[in-house]
Amino acid sequence: MPDAADWTTGKDALNYQACRACKHIFYIRRAFCPQCGAGEPETKTASGRGVVYAETLVHRAPVPEAREHVPYKIVLVDIEEGARVMAHGTLDLKIGDRVVAGYRPFLGGLVPLFGKI
């Protein structure tokens, strides 16, 4: 697996992958392209800029440890490189907002937090 260091491993970055064969862009990391099957996709670091595709404000936490954080906003963001990512967002975010990623600690890890540009 190529360099995978990003928020999922505690680093303040957001990575995505690009297929060297068919140019497909995707977010959920794997060792091959899910569109054409070609191996060794390139792992790239995103600029962090994107547009909010969907948003929800979570009032009922899934685990007791998350209760102190409610309400928190979860968003789907279309990053400018062409992938869709799930992340946290500031409470004011609406669909269509242009946003940029920051990071914050959450439940013992680090998660991307998008805010308006």
């Binding site: 959920i28 969907a54 948003e55 979570v58 009032h59 799930m86 669909i95």
Partner: protein, 377 residues
């Protein structure tokens, strides 16, 4: 060819002291009695999963417990789509001669067998373990994301969703087995506590104990069988992050595959049994399946079209939203109710004409879809 020859359904809600196997057994016993079959007549068993009692071989655990030595048995896992996927597989097994009578069964003490936190936590795991679950989403949050986008694209409102919750509750009031038996209003749905916007408590199905079963047979010895005349599936994604555009989800393709064998036109459908884990799920599926125009599911509901006396009765037992949701058995209740309606045995809920029914289930976050058509014999 196959027939659904017997159905069984427990009441849903709190079933203190009932285990997964107890609820499965109760439903299976009713389905056998309804079909007029004995245990020895069952040569195939399909069962769902139980989050409370996970097991790598639940079908044989059940078969042994219940007292059947089938020629064919295994569990099936398609999330909320499992019940309809099992109905489709049973139809295939029977039609191809592998089995004569397949017992399809599921049950779970999901409400009393675990804490509410454990239920919410285990269901949230349907998300991606690395890229989604660490963000603290819940199932309602996944559907809340979908709902926000659906409202944005189609101008649907929270009141529109609330109308569907009220419809399901109105239906549940007519069924003694339903988990909820207090009427609700649109205002009460709107005022219920927020869970994951735009979804509020009454937009969400409850967690229930319950069981459901049915028997799919080659021969209709029961004389009240209904015929399976088409089934189809579509699986476009697992995670909401990787879902295609709203316009490219799997309900349409699953329906097309189910329709093509017999060239069934959607306008001829007289009864609808549609998965309704959340009000948004029901609204989207009704519209994706062509049972309402885009953005107009609620308008049809307001017009009374989906009522017992309407043009297209829908989930007349109350659906997941108000009959209850015990996991796999939840959506199987839709099929049980459809069978009762099609065989004129729905009592004071009986609709005038249920000659052709469309059933549709989905699993994950609109990830897996199964459509099925049933016809009166």
């Amino acid at each position: 060819m196959s027939f659904i020859t017997g159905v069984g359904l427990t009441s849903f809600g709190r079933r203190e002291g009932c285990s997964t196997l107890d609820l499965m057994s109760m439903a299976a016993e009713s389905a056998l009695a309804d079909a007029g079959l004995a245990r020895r007549d069952i040569d195939g068993i399909l069962c769902g999963y139980s989050t409370v009692q996970p097991h790598i071989m639940l079908a044989t655990v059940f078969a042994e417990h219940f007292g059947i030595q089938p020629q064919y048995a295994h569990a099936v896992q398609v999330g909320g789509g499992t019940g309809m996927a099992m109905a489709m597989l049973a139809h295939i097994l029977v039609s191809s001669g592998v089995a004569k009578n397949v017992l399809v069964v599921a049950g779970e003490n999901r409400l009393t067998g675990q804490t509410r936190d454990a239920a919410v936590q285990s269901l949230a795991q349907v998300g991606h373990p690395v890229f989604e679950v660490p963000l603290g989403p819940t199932i309602p949050a996944y559907y809340g994301l979908v709902a926000s986008r659906y409202m944005h694209e189609h101008g649907v409102t929270e009141e529109d969703f609330a109308v569907l919750a009220v419809l399901m509750r109105d239906h549940a009031l007519m069924h003694p087995g339903a988990q909820f038996n207090e009427p609700i209003t649109v205002a009460e749905v709107m005022a219920s506590k927020p869970i994951a916007t735009p979804l509020k408590l009454l937009d969400c199905c409850p967690v229930s104990d319950g069981g459901a079963a049915f028997i799919v047979s080659r021969d209709d010895a029961s004389r009240h069988g209904v015929k399976v005349i088409g089934a189809g599936q579509a699986h476009t994604h697992q995670y909401v992050t990787t879902a295609p555009a709203l316009s490219d989800l799997g309900a349409g393709p699953a329906l097309a595959r189910a329709s093509e064998q017999r060239g069934i036109a959607i306008k001829n459908v007289r009864y609808a049994a549609i998965y309704d884990s959340f009000t948004i799920t029901l609204a989207m599926l009704l519209e994706d399946l062509g049972l309402a125009k885009r953005g107009e599911a609620s308008a049809r509901a307001r017009n009374g079209d989906f009522g017992v006396n309407g043009a297209l009765p829908l989930n007349t037992h109350g659906g997941l939203l108000s009959y209850g949701h015990c996991g796999v058995g939840g959506a199987m209740a839709h099929l049980v109710e459809t069978h009762l309606q099609m065989t004129g045995r729905a009592g004071h809920r009986q609709v005038k004409d249920a000659s052709l029914a469309l059933l549709h289930g989905d699993g994950g976050v609109l990830s897996s879809h199964v459509s099925m058509f049933l016809e009166q014999v």
